[in-house]
Amino acid sequence: MRRRLLSALLLTVAALAHAEDWTLTQLMAALAANPGGRAHFVERKDIALLDAPVEARGELFYRPPDHLERRTQTPQPETLILDGEMLTLERDGRRLQLSLAERPQIAAFTDSIRRTLAGDRHALERAYRLTLSGEAALWTLRLVPDDEALREIIQQITISGNQGEVRSIAILQADGDRSLMTITPEPAP
């Protein structure tokens, strides 16, 4: 059985929706129907301190509703696993584990991505102001943190995609540094 990020069912739902305006409710439903899977990512960070952007590449793995892995391959192998309340970071053979309940800001940030992937509008609206633009085939969701402490780190998160599939995540930090992660679903083997 081949695993696809986009199921046949989703295509049907999307096709039906196309005629109308692409609403937040529709987006969330499409995202929630995403069965998860693997994808490649390239993340480019523009940092004022550096003359050139830094780039990381690797693999993402998502299993709804709250398991997300980021396996960086270059420049330095590193694994970040979000599973429920636990965040695990592995690097240089060392493993650091922390509970998200202890770090509300890290939790708010990671949740912005996880809740979007899960299509959990309710959870997203608790922490962010949401603005949706575009259409089903190319939508853009902008998240602006409500929490002032978090706004001192992150100005806004912009997630864009096609139907129930997230294609890029852009983060604008408070100091003007920005990062753009481009996500390519793993081609079917």
Binding site: E43, K45, I47, L49, L50, D51, A52, V54, E55, A56, R70, T72, P75, Q76, E78, L80, L89, R91, R94, L96, S99, A101, E102, I153, D177
Partner: protein, 774 residues
Amino acid sequence: MSRRPRGAVLLWLAGLAVCLYLLTQARFTADLSAFLPQTPSAEQRLLVEQLRDGPVSRLLLIGIRGGEAIERAAASRTLASRLQHAPEFVAVANGEAASAEADQQWLFEQRYLLSPAVDAERFSVAGLHRAIQASIERLSSPAGLLLKQLLPRDPTGETLALLDALAARGQPASREGVWSTRDGEQALLLATTRAAGADTDGQAAAVERVRTAFAPLAHGALQLELSGPGVFAVQARATIKSEVERLSLLASALIAALLLYAYRSPRLLLLGLLPMASGALAGIAAVAAGFGVVHGITLGFGITLIGEAVDYAIYLFVQSARSTSLAGFWPTVRLGVLTSVCGFAALLPAQFPGLAQLGAFSLVGLLTAALVTRHVLPALLPATLQVRDLSPLGRRLAAALPALRRLRPLLLLLIALAAGLLYSRQSTLWQHELAALSPVSAADQALDARLRAALGAPEVRYLVVARAASADAALHAAERLAPTLDALQAQGLIGGYDSAARYLPSLATQQARRAALPDTATLRERLQAALAGLPLRAERLDGFLADVEASRQTPPLSRADLADTSFALAVDALLQQRADGWQALLPLHAPQADGRLPDVAYLRAAIAASGVDGARFIDLKHESDALYAGYVDEAIHLTLAGCTAIAVLLLIALRSPRAWLQVWLPLAGATLLVGAGLALAGERLTLLHLIGLLLIVAVGSNYALFFARAQTPDATTLASLLLANLTTMLGFGLLGFSSVPVLHAIGVVVGPGAPLALLLAAVLSSPATEAEPA
């Protein structure tokens, strides 16, 4: 008749005066040195030191449960700030961000003196290039946010490396900004007392301080939970005190009522206590004179043993009330006393000071009590004794004897079965762990384990210890052990280790690191070259140049520089002054959650092969269990030697193998039956049970001797034996109900053992009819 007793009384009074003087000179101690052998090994000494005033012994684990997380966090903050200002504590931590930030700030400021990566190579062009490139690569990580702020001043990533090493130490979980259990249901604090763990008064004051500081916070559902060695010591003392008071009061009342019934005279009751009191006094004085220090544990065991002395007075009073001469009665008691003395003398050469002192105490105490009963008490007795005539009771007992003797085959069978049972279970008979003597309840131990696990403050079991003449040399030794320990960690044989040198490097290491820092001009030049090909311009790193230059100028770190950080606590715990120098402790963490190290022998060899002078590997639990197991083995051997001595003495004194068997069999039978009973009840025998068994022999030999000498003792003697037996059974039997292991063990052995010894002596004695012509 009157001259000699008067002389004896004077001698007695003079003796009491000497004893009282010796007592005023005696030093009493309740600390754990009672368990330190007379010629301890380095490991054993360390073990006792750690238990007595080691860092672990000073930790107080505090939990707050109930209510909402936010209430618990507020209570944690208030409690912490109150305790931080209390004189009973040197440090209180609850995981508040302020203290964590202070620690991080300090690490950042001192990074060039603290980071093991700092050497000449690190500050060469190639070294700088490598380190800065790694830092830039790290910016691409999701964890790069903190690094981005540090990079302009710390482009080589020293702060992050230091923080990583700390994080590996395992921090407790946290909720609402303070430490909590993983499930978040309980806020946690860790306090270090000023008083040493063995200073029970100081620990009691610290515990009381926490309770009073928490009392105003205990509104709503908030509850305080306390644990730690100090709390255990305080609770144990309170339990022992209350139980000793309660049980001894009850036993005294029952015994006094029994004796009053028999003596019909309060005066006699008081006189009856004289031999016991004199014996106890002489015993303590003898221990003080012989050992210099009297252990609390000796008093605890010894006072109970001296209970045998009460019996002497009973025999005297009951016999004196008759007009018959005492001539036939004293030799029997004398032999009984000698028997006991033989048993206890065997303990004198023990390595375990508690056991040796117990031997000396009991030996002198029993002799004194016997002598006072024999020579002093008669002079103080009223001219006419109005003791109740117990002979009717005695006659009824004598009448019951033949029926009892018919039980002989049954009892002999039982004894044989008991011996068989004990033999078959000999491997599991003895409790070889020191924890068996711990008065801490299982519930309290579970609470302690739970708080400890949550705080990431596991019990220190494995240690590497490095000894040196000075604090700095000890730190240096700890640093020289680091490569060996790092290698062991890389192999997965240990999970990690702590070392004071992480926070306070030795002077030589600090100087070497400082010497590796180039001056500003050189560093600027190297930096230009090192940044070639990297997306970072040297102008952005002016802060780095300034900080390196500042580190070159600052004086070396000393313990005082750590004062405002939580690292001060770690250094004080891991670097200790001793009578003959200093020692650095390097606790080893287990690689797995079960807390055990996989290959202790290999670790021991690796530490020995490290070539660091004065360094050794120690497994504290193994040491304490080995020490205690050694004591148990020693006590068993000495007791067996004592029993052999008693057997030889009796054979010489009784001059008849048949009479010898009649004395020996009841004693052996009683100890075997009690031992088998305990084994069946699932009790593992400890040192204290052994002492109880010895006491059965000491007390029971009197009973057996009366039966062996007289075949069937006359009615009055029988009655006095029963009376003495009842007092012993009451006095000790009640201890069996105590929850304090020390008291419980003696109680469950002697309580049933004394009446068993009497019963067996009666049952196994020859019927009078056999001795008399038909």
